[in-house]
């Protein structure tokens, strides 16, 4: 079996897994609807309760799980490739923290009560401001180190401002709402959220998927990549902007969901033969599968308690990350 065949089989398997989890996600929920009924209702033109639950509650939830997972997996793989660092993750360039800050400010100021979409919109604007600041700090010949440092600075500032908002929150309910939102969840999202996030995510995906060849060349360092005809400045802009718009949109509709963008590329890298270009689509599918699975699990583990998706990914992801660090250390020793 050739290398390319093995890769195609892997993509097909991951695609099948995602499709399976997507359908499964549609059929899990507090309303006890039989599997066959739920799928039938989705395609029926009727406006009964089952169809309404499927179309307005479960479909957007499953779609967002798919889109957000793909975004996190893809951007994680792209950033690891661009920074040539297996420990890079989408939050590194400050987008997640800034999007969170935007959302928190919308809740804090009470804008969300007047206009519910103020939350994701404010988060998106905030993510865009972050990326402009990071790009400006990195400059024209921005080295990867400058990008990381600028991202850390922006993240810290956004984190501090978020704490300030919590600190000064007008009442305990606002503080609680902020806290819950920051945990990251797909509960009670509507198709409006899907339509709001989709264009940004698609734009980000296109930018990141264009990077494949450049990321392969970057394996040998920036100088060698440049000598092979790769425009390093374009790569930087595509990587940062692609991550910012897609992860910004993901955070805007679901809050921060950690560890997916870090762990999924890590897991899949050995299976695709190490090449960053191959890791991009594989990691997008892998991310979608992980988030869909996690979102099914939160509904199964604690139905009625609203266990947050971001809490679950962190609880499972962090020990797994420790294991990865441990294995990496043994390999390097």
């Amino acid at each position: 079996m050739t290398d390319a065949t093995r890769y195609r089989i892997l993509l097909a398997l991951l695609g099948f897994l995602v499709a399976l989890l997507f359908v499964l996600s549609l059929t899990v929920g507090p309303a006890a609807i039989a599997f066959g009924d739920s799928i039938k209702a989705l395609f029926s033109g009727k406006a009964d309760a089952i169809a309404l639950i499927m179309r307005e509650i479960r479909l957007p939830r499953a779609l967002l799980g798919l889109m957000i997972g793909a975004t996190l997996g893809l951007s994680g793989a792209a950033l690891q490739g661009y920074l040539r660092n297996p420990l890079a993750e989408p939050g590194l360039i400050g987008v997640s923290a800034s999007a969170s800050l935007g959302a928190v400010l919308a809740i804090y100021s009470g804008l969300t009560i007047v206009f519910p979409l103020a939350l994701p919109l404010s988060a998106l604007v905030s993510a865009m401001i972050a990326v402009i600041v990071v790009q400006a700090l990195a400059g024209r010949r921005g080295s990867t180190l400058t990008i990381i440092l600028a991202g850390v600075a922006v993240s810290s500032l956004a984190g501090a401002m978020t704490s300030l908002a919590l600190n000064l929150s007008p009442n305990p309910f606002a503080a609680l709402e902020i806290m819950f939102w920051m945990l990251g969840s797909l509960t009670d999202r509507s198709m409006t959220h899907v339509w709001l996030a989709a264009p940004f995510m698609l734009a980000g995906w296109v930018l990141l998927l264009m990077l494949g060849r450049a990321l392969d060349a970057l394996t040998l360092g920036t100088d060698t990549a440049a000598s092979m005809g790769i425009d390093i400045r374009h790569v930087q802009q595509f990587a940062v902007l692609g991550t910012a718009v897609s992860v910004g949109a993901a955070t805007a509709v679901a809050g921060a969901i950690g560890f997916v963008g870090l762990v999924v590329p890590h897991l899949l890298r050995p299976l695709v033969g190490g090449k960053p270009s191959r890791l991009l689509p594989a990691s997008a599918l892998g991310g979608a599968a992980v988030v869909l699975a996690a979102d099914i699990l939160v509904r199964l583990i604690a139905p009625g308690r609203d266990l947050k998706l971001g809490v679950l990914t962190a609880i499972v992801g962090a020990p797994f990350f420790l294991f990865l660090v441990y294995r990496e250390r043994r390999r390097l020793a």
């Binding site: 394996t219 040998l220 060698t224 440049a226 092979m228 005809g229 790769i230 425009d231 190490g274 090449k275």
Partner: protein
């Protein structure tokens, strides 16, 4: 035709003048050895010629102003082997060598038969085809160096710039490499390699450029550039000069004087 010409090239990194007023031109069929003490500006000269560091002066690549060429057009004219052996991911050797075809391929295209021929030939020339399926990151230093040179050969450019390509190679592979570069020159392609091994430089290069403190001190045939006087003045060493099998032999023997403050012992080539 001149493959690479620089005139009045100057480079400053921070407040330090690394290169001052450097001019030379390399035509077809030359194997140029770039020699000089640590910190002389050899690496910077190669990187400036590739447009990797900002410089003042004029650079032309195959007759075209370098400033008017985009990165892809440069990549078709010049290949480069960096001094550091960076391989970030555990990618098989063959895939690394295939990266050399990047400037010749449309973005999402598969490798053409022409690409495959170039990759196979490059792997054979550097004797890395025996471990083509191994992850390049796990190879020994010398094996990695050969894989990265094979990568540059697969780029099939008229001119190849190599920064200390013999570092880390055993004597047999050092000679294989120098012989290969000399053969490329015979076929009309050209190589500029920075070298610290003056013996190899004297034996194999058709021309040497001696750099010291950012300036060209001498440029010409090896026996004209490497003299007892220049070795003493620039490197502060005395050397044995001889002939063997019809070729020059140079072996540095001892310091003429202890190194002064101006000639630090540690490697500062890239500063």
């Amino acid at each position: 035709m001149s493959l690479l010409a620089v005139s009045n090239l100057s480079v400053s990194l921070g407040r330090r003048h690394v290169l001052s007023d450097v001019s030379f031109s390399v035509g077809e069929g030359e194997f140029v050895g770039l020699i000089g003490p640590n910190g002389a500006g050899k690496s910077t000269l190669l990187r400036a010629a590739l447009g990797l560091v900002g410089s003042q002066g004029r650079i032309t690549i195959a007759g075209h102003e370098a400033a008017t060429l985009d990165v892809l057009e440069r990549a078709v004219g010049i290949a480069y082997v960096a001094q550091e052996h960076q391989i970030a991911w555990p990618i098989p050797v063959e895939a690394i060598v295939a990266l050399g075809r990047t400037p010749h391929r449309p973005r999402f295209a598969a490798l053409s038969s022409r690409d495959h021929t170039a990759i196979e030939q490059a792997m054979r020339r550097m004797e890395v085809d025996a471990f083509r399926d191994r992850a390049a990151a796990d190879l020994s230093g010398g094996e990695k160096a050969r894989v990265l040179i094979a990568r540059a050969l697969a780029q099939e450019t008229p001119l190849l710039l190599a920064d200390e390509p013999t570092a880390g190679l055993d004597p047999s592979h050092q000679i294989t490499l120098m012989r290969l570069f000399a053969d490329l020159a015979k076929q009309g392609r050209s190589v500029i390699a920075s070298l610290h091994d003056l013996g190899l430089a004297a034996r194999w290069c058709s021309r040497l450029i001696l750099l010291n403190q950012g300036r060209i001190i001498a440029d010409g045939a090896p026996d004209a550039v490497l003299t007892a006087e220049s070795l003493g003045r620039i490197y502060g060493v005395e050397a044995y000069f001889g002939m063997a099998a019809g070729r020059a032999v140079i072996q540095p023997l001892d310091l003429i004087q202890p190194p002064t403050q101006d000639q630090p012992e540690e490697d500062h080539d890239r500063t």
